[in-house]
Subunit: 200 residues, 2 copies
């Protein structure tokens, strides 16, 4: 699955990938993953992003979400990750370390896909179109229910960049409201995007 | 004014200091400064902090608030400050650079006072009792009016640390609500304090 151009990702490839992902998570999370894929393929098509890349990124984005903390800590300590990550938990690890596991265990080497997985929970100052598609799809897929999701969905269909900023802003607000720690790169991302002038 | 122990800060010293501060700001800001001093002296007395240090820190905390941006930038560039500060503005500079100007121009060398001025807008992971008194007094002094100020005042009188956390949390929320950039050390401070277990 090194190449993801249109003709190299068959329905069979997709089925195989879904099987490998499904083995690693609860039924509820797998339903979420399929919702993200559906949204990501739609947003990709609207925004000139390769739909096969969108499908693969979406199917694999939560691949490491249910991996035991001990295994994740071991990978962070032994595979050259920033050790500051150890102060956080799976909500942060599953994107950054997840990209590593998706490459290593699922053999997906497409750098765009891996980058999209890496930043899918925090966002980043500079995001590729695919990374934006995954970031927003994860937030607004049809199974999500939270105050503001309808507005986020509307923005996602209207203008992807506005939806990215809406998500960054409201995720930070939600974390602070819940007295949760914030991973500093998420602030770096917010600080870059809040200067684009969106009034959301 | 190098020593600030009880007997070395007379009513005359205070008057002289007030004059020097008043020259540097609008009437409205000076009224705020006097409100901060009144609150800081009260919170100092309640919390075992030297009231003279509290008075001096409060009177001088906004000394650089109306200094021209060009002068502040020049000081940041030539006096060894972190050049990343240049990406922010006076709301951040007036504490950090202000402490430098208070020492240089007003001859106040007390490290506790200078540290309290330095962190009075961002807070910090580790704050001295004097720094907490100034940080909170600046937020809740009697002239302040904003949604939540009554609760912040109540917390200030009940337990200073809770008021510190309330202020950090609500200041971040307010900045994000207004699509404002956040100085990363303010997040570092919030991240440290949100792990103390307050449910505010």
């Amino acid at each position: 699955m090194n190449k993801t151009k249109k003709n190299s990702y068959s329905a069979y490839d997709r089925e195989m990938l879904m099987e490998k992902v499904q083995m690693r998570m609860s039924e509820k999370r797998f339903i979420h993953v399929l919702g993200v894929e559906e949204m990501a393929v739609g947003l990709a098509a609207r925004n000139g992003v390769d739909v096969n890349q969108a499908s693969i990124a979406a199917l694999t984005h939560d691949y490491a979400k249910e991996r035991p903390d001990d295994e994740m800590r071991y990978i962070i300590e032994t595979e050259g990750f920033d050790l500051d990550l150890l102060h956080y938990g799976n909500p942060i690890w599953h994107g950054i370390v997840g990209a590593y596991l998706v490459e290593k265990e699922l053999g997906i080497h497409d750098p765009d896909i891996l980058e999209a997985i890496r930043v899918h929970t925090t966002g980043a100052a500079d995001m590729t179109p695919l990374a934006k598609v995954l970031f927003v799809s994860d937030y607004v897929e049809k199974n999500r229910e939270f105050p503001g999701v309808e507005q986020a969905r509307k923005l996602a269909l209207e203008e992807l960049d506005q939806a990215v900023y809406y998500e960054m802003k409201h995720t930070l607000q939600h974390l602070i409201e819940k007295n949760q720690v914030i991973y500093p790169p998420a602030l770096t991302a917010y600080n870059a995007w809040c200067q684009k002038g969106y009034q959301l």
